[in-house]
C-alpha cells in the first residue's frame, strides 16, 4: 500500500526540548490504533526555523502547519485531519497581523517562509536527517560525484572562487581564496576542518544545519578535501550540542557504509576519512588556531598568524578551516554553478545568509535570506515585528564581536561591508533585537561580561583590558560613573582592539564602542543624571506605585522583602528603603500600575 500522508515533527533542539520526541511517538501510537500504519508515516526532521511557534508539526500533502502542538493534541490531529481530512483549525499557524490572522495558510505561503531563500537550510525541516537516502533523494552527494569524476582540483577551487562565496563564520574571507592558499610544496598530509564551535550567545545556525542536514557538511568536506589534496577531515563541534553530535556521527557512519567516505570513493581512487572532535565549549576555540590546538589535545589558545593554517595548521601541516554554513553552500555551488550563485546577493557579498533571530521579536527562530535584504525586512516582514506593540530600539548583530545598530540603520541592506561600515559585523549570524525596555549600557555590559569570562588569558590586552573595561561599566551602572570614564572606556577599547592577539580580543570592545557611538546619551544619563532611562540598572531606579493601582494586593503578597503596604481596594505604597528592586511587584501587577523611575 502506498503512503498517502507524511507527518513531519520538528526535531530541532528547541522543539525537542518541548517534547517533540514524545509527540512523534504519540503520533505513531495513534496512527497504529487507527490502523493507518501502512498509509501514514511519521518522522522527526531538523529545525523548521520558526522556533517561537514550536513544537511544529507539518502534515503533507496538505502542507498544513500546526504550531504549539502538545502531546494531548496529537489524537485530535490523527482522528480529524489524518483520518477524516478535517484540518484542525485551532492548531494551525496564524499570522501576527490582524487582517491576516483568520486566514489559513499552507506552510510555503506563510510570511515567515515565503520571503526566505534557502540554500544552506534547503533540507532543514524537509528531510529526515537520520536517513542518508533522503539526503540523496534531494540530489545529495551528486556534487561530490561530479567533482571526483569530471573536475580537476583546480577547477573546483576556481568554481568556488568565481562564486564569490565568503566565510559565514564571521570574518567573511573568500572561501575559494582560502582553498587556493594551501601549501602544496610537499606530499605530506593535509587537513580539512569544519568549525562547528558556534559560541555566540543567541546563535544556533550551525547547530541547525548539523541537526537538520548533517550530510551536507560531510559532502562539502570531502569536496574540499579533493580540492586541496587532503584525505582527512575533522568536524570540531561543541559537546553542548549533543543532538548535533549524535546526528553527525550517525551520518558519518552511514556515509562510510555507502562508501561515500573511506577509500576509493565512487571508484575514483580518492580517499577521505572524517571524524567528529568534541570541544568543551570554550568561546576562544572558535578561533582557528585555538581550535587546532584543541584538536591536537593542547589547551585551546590562539597563536600568532602568520603562518596561516593553509601553510602550517593542524600538526604543523597545511589545513583549511571552514565554518558549517560556508560548507553547506558548497555542494549547491558545484551542482548549480558559480553563475547561479552570483545572481543572488549584492556585488561584494554573494549568496544568502542564515540568521538566528532572538530577543524582543515575535518570530524567534532561524531564517535564511539573500545578502542585501534590509534589517527592516528581516525584523518586521519575516520576524513579525516587536511583541506587545513596543518600540524597536536596536539590533545587535555578530554577538560579542559585533555591535548594535539603531532604527536609523533599519533600511541598510545587510552584507559584510555595510555592517562593517556601521561599526558592527556580519558575524556568524546571531541577531538580537532590543526594544525600549532594554538598557544599552546593560547590553554592552552583558557582552563584555561574556568576553571577560571567555578570554583565554594568553595576551595582556584582552585578559586585563576587558576586565578594566567591565569595571568601568560596573561603576557607571552603579551610579558612580564620571564623564572621564567614558573617554577612558573609549581609549581602552581602541587600545584592546589594536593590540590583542586574536579575533576574540580584537573584537571584544565592539559592543561597548558601538553603543557609545549610537547611544551616547544613554551613557550620559547614567553618568550625569544618575538615571537609567530604560529602567533596567538596579542601582539607578526606584519602584513606584501610580494612581492606576486598584488595591488588589497582588504586589504585596508577592513582595519577598515585605516592602509594600496598603489596605485592600486602596492605593499601595512601596517603602523604597527596604525594596530590593527584584521587580516581582511590576511583573505581578494586573493593571500596570507599578513603574520604575
Amino acid at each position: 500500500m502506498a503512503i498517502r500522508t507524511q507527518v513531519v515533527v520538528c526535531g530541532g533542539t528547541g522543539c525537542m526540548s518541548s517534547h517533540s520526541k514524545e509527540i512523534k511517538e504519540k503520533f505513531e501510537e495513534c496512527i497504529k490504533e487507527l490502523g493507518l500504519e501502512n498509509e501514514v508515516v511519521v518522522f522527526n526532521s531538523g529545525c523548521f526555523g520558526l522556533c517561537e511557534r514550536g513544537p511544529v508539526v507539518v502534515v503533507y500533502p496538505d502542507d498544513t502547519f500546526y504550531a504549539h502542538v502538545k502531546v494531548s493534541d496529537v489524537e485530535t490531529i490523527c482522528k480529524e485531519h489524518i483520518l477524516k481530512g478535517r484540518v484542525v483549525e485551532k492548531l494551525v499557524y496564524s499570522e501576527m497581523t490582524a487582517e491576516e490572522k483568520a486566514k489559513i495558510k499552507v506552510f510555503r505561503e506563510m510570511n515567515f517562509y515565503a520571503r526566505q531563500e534557502r540554500i544552506a537550510l534547503r533540507n532543514c525541516g524537509i528531510i529526515n536527517p537520520m536517513d542518508i537516502d533522503e539526503y540523496i533523494g534531494r540530489s545529495g552527494y551528486e556534487a561530490l560525484g561530479k567533482v571526483l569524476t569530471s573536475m580537476t582540483p583546480q577547477e573546483v577551487i576556481d568554481e568556488i572562487l568565481k562564486s564569490g562565496l565568503r566565510g559565514r563564520g564571521g570574518a567573511g574571507f573568500p572561501t575559494g581564496r582560502k582553498w587556493s592558499l594551501v601549501d602544496h610544496s610537499d606530499n605530506g598530509p593535509r587537513y580539512v576542518i569544519c568549525n562547528a564551535d558556534e559560541g555566540d550567545p543567541g546563535a544556533f545556525m550551525d547547530r541547525a544545519v548539523l541537526e537538520g542536514d548533517p550530510h551536507v557538511v560531510i559532502e562539502a568536506m570531502a569536496i574540499a578535501g579533493y580540492a586541496i589534496g587532503a584525505n582527512q577531515g575533522y568536524v570540531y563541534v561543541r559537546a553542548e550540542y549533543p543532538l548535533a553530535v549524535e546526528r553527525l556521527n550517525h551520518a558519518i557512519k552511514q556515509a562510510y557504509e555507502y562508501g561515500l567516505l573511506g577509500d576509493d570513493i565512487f571508484g575514483t581512487g580518492f580517499s577521505f576519512n572524517l571524524e567528529a572532535r568534541l570541544g568543551a565549549g570554550a568561546f576562544v576555540c572558535g578561533e582557528e588556531t585555538a581550535l587546532m590546538a584543541s584538536i591536537e589535545g593542547e589547551r585551546g589558545m590562539p597563536r600568532n598568524k602568520p603562518p596561516f593554517p593553509a601553510v602550517k595548521g593542524l600538526w604543523q601541516r597545511p589545513t583549511i578551516i571552514n565554518n558549517v554554513e560556508t560548507l553547506a553552500n558548497v555542494p549547491q555551488i558545484i551542482l548549480r554553478g558559480a553563475e547561479w550563485f552570483n545572481t543572488i546577493g549584492t556585488e561584494k557579498s554573494k549568496g544568502t545568509k542564515v540568521f538566528a533571530l532572538g530577543g524582543k521579536i515575535n518570530n524567534t527562530g532561524l531564517l535564511e535570506v539573500p545578502m542585501g535584504t534590509t534589517l527592516r525586512e528581516v525584523i518586521y516582514d519575516i520576524g513579525g515585528g516587536i511583541p506587545k506593540g513596543k518600540q524597536f530600539k536596536a539590533v545587535q548583530t555578530g554577538g560579542p564581536s559585533g555591535g548594535c545598530l539603531t532604527a536609523a540603520h533599519l533600511d541598510t541592506p545587510i552584507d559584510y561591508d555595510n555592517l562593517a561600515a556601521l561599526g558592527s559585523i556580519m558575524g556568524s549570524g546571531g541577531m538580537i533585537v532590543m526594544d525600549e525596555d532594554n538598557c544599552m549600557v546593560d547590553v554592552a555590559k552583558f557582552f563584555l561580561e561574556f568576553t571577560v569570562d571567555e578570554s583565554c588569558g594568553k595576551c595582556t590586552p584582552c585578559r586585563e583590558g576587558t576586565r578594566r573595561m567591565l569595571e568601568i561599566l560596573n561603576k557607571i551602572v552603579d551610579g558612580k560613573g564620571e564623564m572621564k570614564d567614558l573617554t577612558e572606556l573609549k581609549d581602552l577599547a581602541e587600545f584592546i582592539k589594536g593590540s590583542s592577539l586574536c579575533g576574540l580580543g580584537q573584537t571584544a570592545p565592539n559592543p561597548v564602542l558601538s553603543t557609545l557611538n549610537n547611544f551616547y546619551d544613554e551613557y550620559v544619563a547614567h553618568v550625569v543624571d544618575k538615571k537609567c532611562p530604560a529602567g533596567v540598572c538596579k542601582n539607578l531606579i526606584k519602584y513606584y506605585v501610580t494612581d492606576k493601582c486598584i488595591g488588589c494586593g497582588k504586589c504585596k503578597r508577592n513582595c519577598p522583602a515585605s516592602a509594600i503596604t496598603g489596605e485592600l481596594k486602596a492605593k499601595h505604597e512601596i517603602n523604597t528603603s527596604i525594596c530590593i528592586k527584584c521587580g516581582a511587584c511590576k511583573t505581578n501587577c494586573p493593571v500596570g500600575a507599578i513603574i520604575t523611575k
Binding site: R4, Q6, P61, K84, G85, R86, D133, E134, I136
Partner: protein
C-alpha cells in the same frame, strides 16, 4: 556504492518516497473522508488512487482527503481539480471507477462524464 549510477538509483527511489513533500501545481484529487464517506467505502478508494499515483510516477499530483462534502447519499465522492482550478465532482466511486478517473481525467485530461454528480442529481 561504487559509481554514479548506484547513486542515481538510490536518488530516484528516495525522491519517489519524498515527492509527497514537494511543492505541486498539477491536478489535485480530493476524497471525502468524513464518517459518511468512510462508511460508504472511501478508504479503499483513497488508497487505490494513492497507489496509482505512486505507480505511475505522477509527481505533480496531490491526493488528499477532506471532510464531509455535503452529499452523503452519493458518497464515496472524489473531486478532481485541474491545474486551472476547475472542479469535477464524481459520485458513488469505487476502486474500479477511481482507476478510470485517474487514467482518463488525471492522466488523460478528459472528464469522465458518466460518474459526474450531474448524472445523479437532476
Amino acid at each position: 556504492m561504487k559509481s554514479l549510477e548506484d547513486l542515481k538509483k538510490i536518488r530516484e527511489q528516495a525522491a519517489k518516497k519524498m515527492s509527497i513533500r514537494d511543492e505541486k501545481n498539477g491536478y489535485r484529487v480530493v476524497v471525502g473522508m468524513a464518517t459518511c464517506g468512510i462508511t460508504a467505502g472511501a478508504r479503499p478508494v483513497l488508497n487505490r488512487i494513492v497507489e496509482l499515483v505512486a505507480e505511475k510516477d505522477l509527481n505533480n499530483v496531490t491526493v488528499t482527503q477532506v471532510g464531509c462534502i455535503g452529499e452523503c447519499a452519493l458518497e464515496p465522492i472524489v473531486e478532481v481539480y485541474d491545474p486551472q482550478g476547475n472542479r469535477s465532482t464524481y459520485c458513488l466511486v469505487d476502486p474500479k471507477k477511481a482507476e478510470k478517473i485517474v487514467e482518463q481525467h488525471v492522466i488523460g485530461g478528459k472528464v469522465v462524464e458518466e460518474y459526474l454528480i450531474e448524472k445523479f442529481k437532476k
